[in-house]
Symmetry: C2
Subunit: 256 residues, 2 copies
Amino acid sequence: MPCIYAVVNQKGGVGKTTTAINVAANLPDLGKSGLIVDMDPQGNTTSGFGIDKSRLAGSVYNVIIEAADVNAIIRPTGVPGLDILPSHRSLAGAEIELIGLPRRERRLVYALDMLRHDYDYVIIDCPPSLGLLTVNCLVAAEYMLIPIQCEYYALEGLGALTHTSQLIQRELNPRLKIGGIVLTLFDPRTTLAWQVAEQVRSQYPEETFRTIIPRNVRLSEAPSHGMPITQYDPASRGAVAYHELTKELISRGAAA
Amino acid sequence: MPCIYAVVNQKGGVGKTTTAINVAANLPDLGKSGLIVDMDPQGNTTSGFGIDKSRLAGSVYNVIIEAADVNAIIRPTGVPGLDILPSHRSLAGAEIELIGLPRRERRLVYALDMLRHDYDYVIIDCPPSLGLLTVNCLVAAEYMLIPIQCEYYALEGLGALTHTSQLIQRELNPRLKIGGIVLTLFDPRTTLAWQVAEQVRSQYPEETFRTIIPRNVRLSEAPSHGMPITQYDPASRGAVAYHELTKELISRGAAA
Ligand SMILES: Nc1ncnc2c1ncn2[C@@H]1O[C@H](COP(=O)(O)OP(=O)(O)OP(=O)(O)O)[C@@H](O)[C@H]1O
Ligand SMILES: Nc1ncnc2c1ncn2[C@@H]1O[C@H](COP(=O)(O)OP(=O)(O)OP(=O)(O)O)[C@@H](O)[C@H]1O
Ligand SMILES: [Mg+2]
Ligand SMILES: [Mg+2]
């Protein structure tokens, strides 16, 4: 049974995709196999690995809407030991289509139950909303990995997210818990960043990872080359931080 | 009949809220009256003006779901000449509730038709998705104001956005057009920013505003003080840029 993480925050642009890609890409280096699932209609995770969405035979859309075989749609990334269940633009219509389907919150968890390959980890990249696509992710996951940008609006959204996750824990998925909160896009030159980091750590001391992800332009360049940071610039500050974060995540899980 | 702009981009964190607030706040200084509408369940525009969402008597939720009187719910911001139709966390459930309502795409446009005050401009802040809330914004609007962050993923989303807006033009709102594309979060020290800016300008030469919004920490500090940049730090580079942008937007409209 893989360890399933949903990388989730309805606030936009906080580093969900960047965190999903670069944590997943570090897993094989640390001896763990992984599957990354792109549940965002934007498909940034899929293109971040250099995959052309318009030429895909199938995507997570077919899996959750048409109950297609997930094993037939999963494909390799450019990282040995890491596969992907890719997104497609058709996913944009899925939230409305899901409304009329039976067990609409459980379509993803049923699909992941059918996985033939025994991955150690599944990392799910969520869209910036709390609609049915994200609900499907939270029903399938055991842990939430919550990236928080060190900016004012970041704190605002945390209340709504914990409210939604408690609802899901109660009604749909009792095993869901916070796996960790990761401070991202940290710019040490601004007082705002230190203030927000301090506030998040004091509000969630246990959950907040020690590793902080700095703002590092190499992280935003990597997707334009279709590579995770581990391949694009493994010596960069961004790469070192994501390597440390992944080690911390694995050791936390092991300790649980 | 006010000039209605929807500030829209399904990519998260590109500066939609920051652009909506600071363009709207500049209107009275330029002799125009305005109403800002917060259609994002996160309610960042509402809190960006220092309004406590949990103490509101009513919000845009009541207007679009219960057909409450918009004139009774609109309230002043701290900027003379600018009012707000605020958001509320109940809006998070609106996308699912809208599905079962008659004329579900037109709830916002009907409400704005009932406005008693004759505003010059209405500025609508959209959530980071292309669901029914954003569709309501695009049906109500005459112009789309599209913020684009100068980063790789920003270009990815433009195709999906133009696809959706053409659908809306054809099926629901023939007067909808691109009012302008504004380059945001521009950091001149990175080559990526120049590359993306160059690519957007060459793909959309007519639509892209001359004014570029620089990355400026004062813009991200202002909301924590509940003020637009025009009040928080009117001499900052961010304030000057949004003043120039608003002038350009008004003169474009006048020329149309
Ligand atoms: N630590 C970092 N340093 C520099 N740039 C970063 C960092 N993390 C993310 N970025 C860049 O910031 C932008 C937003 O990040 P990303 O797309 O990962 O956020 P997201 O939460 O997935 O956004 P969305 O809400 O649209 O899904 C991207 O252009 C990305 O390349
Ligand atoms: N020009 C700028 N300079 C510095 N910071 C900025 C600038 N524009 C926006 N920001 C900050 O970047 C973050 C994202 O901006 P904002 O919230 O306006 O984007 P958004 O597109 O509305 O996000 P969402 O998709 O969640 O609605 C915020 O913390 C904001 O304060
Ligand atoms: Mg993303
Ligand atoms: Mg916003």
